[in-house]
Amino acid sequence: MNYLTWRLHRNQVVFAAAALVALAALLLVTGTRMAHDYSAALSTCAATRSCGDLSDELFQGDGLVLDFVTAVSIGGPLLLGIFWGAPLIAKEIDEGTHRLVWAQSITRRRWMAAKVGWVLAAAVAWGASMTALVTWWHSPENALYGRLGSGHFDIQGVVPIAYGLFAVALGIVIGTWTGRVMAAAAGVLGGFAAVRALVLLYVRPHYLAPLTARLSLGRAALPGNPWVLSKTLVNAAGHPETVTSTFGYVPAVCHSAVFKGPSALSSCLQAQGYRWLVSYQPASRFWEFQAIEGAIFVILAAALVLLALWRIERADA
């Protein structure tokens, strides 16, 4: 089966390898320059004690390449699902060649094991190469913005590998069920995006119980670039204020400050004991979150692969 798998899919491997080489070249060139700019800026700002403003100044000219790398990193697993996962079984069923292979002296389980095993191994290899490069490339950005926020968390560490496995498994299982490449590709497109969005919006914030902090109403921010989940105004008693009308919650003492501008209002409220109640995930939880989210997608992928195998072993051909 290894021979046949390689013979059928070698073009895809060559194409993916070429794309990886091109991306690696881009990342190495731009990454080296960004790392250099960053360390130069650090030594400059350390002299003038203005390092807090670095994030406003650095890499502003690199928006295009930053967006591109982020898009490729987020879209990469999707492309694996569409170009590797979807056709893996669907193309055989579509063209009837599964009847040729199943008529050989090889069980369907061994056939699936070889095909699925190799494509998943290739997805891991691709994902690991990509994420290793991007993680390194992204380190100046991490230092500036943290890496727990969406758009940063999703393109480095181990989760891109898990996303890739999930997308490929999704393509395999839909392809197994429908026997049609286009249906499987469309299914990957919709299913992958939906699951990723659901996890990002509704599951990821709850991996670990968030921490809370009370912040003064001034410019103060939490140190260490945490992932801020919510920010609520609370009064001196610690109860959140519900805004019933414009400035409806503002105590009588501060009514006059309302007309003197936002900074006057906030210093008056501050004096009355009002604070921001911030719920957040500290940046130090990066690897715990990576492990949890990675495990979720790997388990989903494994379940989908088993589902596909179950189907193949029972399908009429």
């Binding site: 021979y3 046949l4 060649t97 040729l100 002296s105 072993e313």
Partner: protein, 312 residues
Amino acid sequence: MSRAAQPETAPAVEAVGLGKHYGHSWGLQDCSVQVPKGAISALLGPNGSGKTTLLRMVAGFATASAGSVRVLGRAPAQSEEFLASVGYLAQEMPLYRRLNVAEHLELGRRLNRRWDDGAARGRLTALRVPFDRPVATLSGGQRAQVALALAVAKTPDVLLLDEPVAALDPLARAEFLASLAAAAAGTGLTVLLSSHLLRDVEQVCDHVVLLASSRVQLCATTEALVSCHKVLLGPRRGPSGCERSFDVVRATHTERQSRLLVRSPGPALGPSWEVFEADLEEIVLAYMGQGRDGGAIAAGPLSLLSTTGGAR
């Protein structure tokens, strides 16, 4: 060809009450059939009669909804022993379009423990099939030969071919059947090949299984079929009278004469009847037509004809 099998040998393929339904309709119903070992059997029936369904269930490509089937005593299963013993060539002759013949032989060699590479190469070389061109560029006849070579090189005990010659022109058809006969000769290979036309496969078959209306109508050696059917020509009578006297498979009447295809006419034939040999084509066509009419014959399924012993 010689009588296919002795009564004491177990059949190569034995189906009992085999059925398969797709949704609410039956693709094959109540099929009981025995295919003798070491013979080339034709599975005949009109389109939609369940030939493909039967072959797929025998090959283990589809699961039965009712009844059971055994191939050389084994139920179809996803095991290497079963898969190695059964060869199956689907109707569309699946091949990887972009792979060439050499690569197909290579995949066959790697995916089968028993593999006769020399024979496959020899046969395809003799047929001048190019080994280095993608199979998509070969002619239909060449592709069929490649598919057959793969199925035979696997050296199965039972080879199932689903309408292998339906898409071939007469020359390619003759070449294909010659290859098949040559491959089966002297090897003890059991072949069951389906066709909707007896004429297509008559030259290589020594046993006939006839499916119509998703049921087995007939199952016998070609010799037995010919010897136990007769054509009777005689004065026109009421159909009821005829059918009481003989087992009439098909009756055609003109104003004066009745032409009856009958099974096992007894000695009690009146002197007014002339008796002729029936030819295989006519017998098979008669049974096919019967199945289409919903089995008008009084005798019902032809259990009278045993597969192994001919007429009893």
